[in-house]
Amino acid sequence: MNHYLALVPKYLAAHRKKTRLVIISVAISVALITGVFSMLDVFFQFEKIQVIHDYGNYHIAVLDASEQETQTINSRIDVQNSGTWRTLGSARLNGVTCELGALDQQFAGNLNVELIQGHYPTDRNEIMLEQWAAQSRQLNLVIGDHVQLSFPDGLEKEFRVSGLYRDLGVMKAQGIPGVFLSVNGTHDLQRAEKSIFLIEFKNGVNIRKAEQEIKADLGITEDRIDRNNHLLALMGQSDHNAVLDFYKVGAVLFALVLIAGVLMIYNTFNISVMERVRQFGMLRCIGTSQTQIKKLVRREGLAITLRAIPIGVLAGMVMTLICCAILKYYNHSLFGTIPLLNFSLVGISAGIGIGFLTVLIASFLPARKAARVSPINAVTGSNEIKTPDQKKPGWLMRRFKVEIAMGINNAWQTRRTFWLMASSIAISIILFMGFQVFVDFLYTGLKTTKPYTPDLSLTSAQGLPSDLSARLGNVEGVDRVYGRMFAHVEATFEADKLTDSYKESINRIETKENGLLVPLERSWLISYDKQQMKWARSDLIDGVFTEEQLNQNQGIIAVALNQRNNASTETANWQVGDKVYLETRDGTKEFTVVGVLRSVPFNDSEFNLATFITSEKLFTEITGQNAYDCLDLQISGQNQEKTVQGIKSLLSEDITFLDARQRNAEVNQAFITMAVFIYGFLAVIALISIINIFNTMSTSVVAKTRYLGLMRAIGMSWRQLCRMVLAESATYSLTGSVIGCFLGVVLQRFLINSWLVSFHVLWHFPLGQLIGIAIFISVITVLSVIGPLKKTKKMAVAEVVQAF
């Protein structure tokens, strides 16, 4: 031993158990930070691939760009790739309705248009179509076949099939083939509905600035610019309001992770220092200066950090690895390129950097405290066992048994430890509850398949035969058949219900004398059966949704997010009790809004005023219609193709068969990509909270070994001792839980009401979560003190008293 600081490793080696507890504490904090930040980093990588798959790899788009504009933009040094996408509207391909488009070949990859057979259409008379469409009963085409395209204006032209490309889930689900012409071919037709010039910038480009430059240089107005907000959001380059709000939620929660990390480490060091008051006093007696004591404590912090950081970083990386492994296993085709072992520089440096910084900060205060220890403490041992201060626990003694009162009093005696322990538990709860809002967002904000999502749909313009539903139900493999009727009806309501955005889009709003709107557009009316109503209730924002309520009260359900011309728009602000007047066969009738639904999973291609749902009985009364327009089917997992063949055999020529399975799978993938990480975050936080509470409680018992020995020496029974320790731990847990739950609820409410409203996430009092947390914390508290208590029991009383 050549230097007094060599005392540090000797102390750590001599107190292996305590050192281990401290190292674990610091390691879990580092693991929390590394894990959460690595997962966030990797999440962005995965989500970027997912978003590129779902929305395309472009950043901004210019509508109707001229030749000169495309050339100028193309020649920019910051542009990676660009291409023109033209939509030409509907046409009939050998009699089947299809959607026509054209896309520059070099940009096809960016929009996930993947040629699987033949070649990309380049000649004026070449086309490329989806594989499913080519193989469909109606078309049955192979490469080289000649087809007839009929345009709505009567023009007919012959084309040759040059290639087949991979199915697009959305088109397949709608039963409308997507057909690509060559770009040259569209010039001949001169009927482009919309021309969009898509731009992908190089990595690291400030896209907002580039966009401004392009707009300024070429005089392009804002209404001609479109943005891939999903992709820009992931790159941190979006200024879309909803995205910015989402960033804010993330920032608050990740700041909380940092605070939690700092608090946990500080807590650990503080406890470790406080239990050694006597040792520091003795060192002061033999001439250790305050600066030297501070150095000793800081060196100890450093020694612990050096051991804890690699463990924490490794643990954080393992958590990320698990997430990567799940996603890669689940969707190998999409995420195959992402390495399993993902070294997130952001996460690792955050873990190491913040770990060190935190230890520095966290050991600063305890170091100062240790340095202030009076040398007299070593001589008298006065600070070693706290004697009750002026506030005697008299009232506690009167209410509880002596050992319980002592336990509560012990917890309350050392205020700083008390608040540190309670806040440590509280912050774990706050963190857990805070991250829960992402789960709400996941289920309501992110489009996902729901219990009611059909695998297959059947539609017919003439209405489906009334016995078809029953016959389909008998096909082997069919789980459920449920039908809907659709109609566009004349509906009116008070004009002041309309949203400002709708008023702006319509320009002129006329009202009658009684304040009712003179509707310029019809509304969409849908019928639901009992099963569909039951499914829809999870999306109910307000009111009720039962067949009885609807039939008894002449009721309808209003839909908040109206599906208007295939887009979600809020046209009116609905409330339960609102009156709606519908034109029925028997004249105008008044209906009452008995419930408000967040959205419906169907699209209306017309510009409708509002969307309403009602029972089948009321629907027939209003419209006179009783045949389903659409039948949805859910089929079971195995032998699906056989089931599909069985269903098709029952269908007449006029029934359209729509297969939504691929689209559902794609939607599920997007959901799962996000879900893995959100649940990953929650799992990490829950796991770390458990270890943290466990560790803090154990440390608190270990630190009291001598005191506990003394209590036993003066006649406290083992049972009493356990009760006393449990009472103390319960005091910490209870206070921490109450504070944590209260602040957690406040935080959840704040995050949702401030920033997630635009995603239609609603705040509910999280009773279930609170009950879960209460049970969980109670179990952890009991479990965490049992181990150390049992060890204390094994030690002889004299041994315990002399343990320090």
Binding site: M1, N2, H3, Y4, A6, L7, K10, Y11, A13, A14, H15, Q279, M282, L283, R284, C285, I286, G287, T288, S289, Q290, T291, Q292, S374, P375, I376, A378, V379, G381
Partner: protein, 225 residues
């Protein structure tokens, strides 16, 4: 030659009804190489006096002058340095660092002073204290008497001007007590150090050059050998 002068030293704890005058205007001086023992009943103020002399506590009034230096005019940091260089403490409860072995415990005050321990001197001390065989043992592996000898070694290692011992034999049996006392005397004589020792044992008190009695905070000299 005067090494220690106590001048009107008082210490009061608490205030009002709970006020306790632990030491009342004590004044005396001690010469270099003297062995002074302090006797008195429990709670009389002996330890307070010793703590004040050692700079462990702060007086309510008065001065403590060691080697011409008024120690309470020093800053906290200077006082710590002064303590480790000029004063060696020996406590009833030994107060060794349990994680350090005998030799390391003895050299710790030197390391705190960033000094390289003089190997020969430490060996000599170990030899005098009869701890040569035990120098790599941890305190937990030693008997009470041996631990107290380590504490004496630690107090002597920096060759302090003065050694303050608070009932160094309080925890020891009579055989060990005698050994420790002999060692203390021997060391003090050999290194010409000043020793102030609190003791309850009248026999050991009479070994001292001078004896002070503390009673109700008042210090009075009883004489000496």
């Amino acid at each position: 030659m005067e090494i220690l002068r106590i001048d009107q030293l008082s210490k009061t704890y608490g205030s009002g009804e709970t006020k306790v005058e632990a030491l009342k205007e004590a004044s005396f001086s001690v010469s270099r190489g003297e062995f002074v023992s302090i006797v008195g009943q429990s709670g009389a103020g002996k330890s307070t006096l010793l703590h004040l002399i050692g700079g462990l506590d702060t007086p309510t009034a008065g001065r403590v002058i060691i080697d011409g230096m008024d120690i309470y005019t020093l800053l906290e940091e200077e006082l710590a340095v002064f303590r480790r260089r000029s004063i060696g403490f020996i406590f009833q409860a030994y107060n060794l660092v349990p994680e350090l072995n005998v030799e390391e415990n003895m050299v710790l005050p030197l390391l705190l002073d960033y000094k390289k321990p003089d190997g020969r001197f430490i060996d000599e001390l170990l030899d005098i204290l009869g701890l040569t065989d035990r120098k790599h043992h941890l305190p937990g592996q030693l008997s009470g008497g041996q631990q107290q000898r380590v504490a004496i070694g630690r107090a002597l290692a920096t060759r302090p001007t003065m050694i303050l011992a608070d009932e160094p034999t309080g925890n020891l049996d009579s055989k060990n007590s005698r050994e420790v006392m002999n060692l203390l005397r021997l060391s003090v004589e050999r290194f010409n150090q000043t020793l102030l020792m609190i003791t309850h044992n009248q026999n050991y008190a009479t070994l001292a050059d001078r004896v002070f009695q503390v009673e109700d905070g008042l210090v009075r000299e009883l004489g000496g050998q």
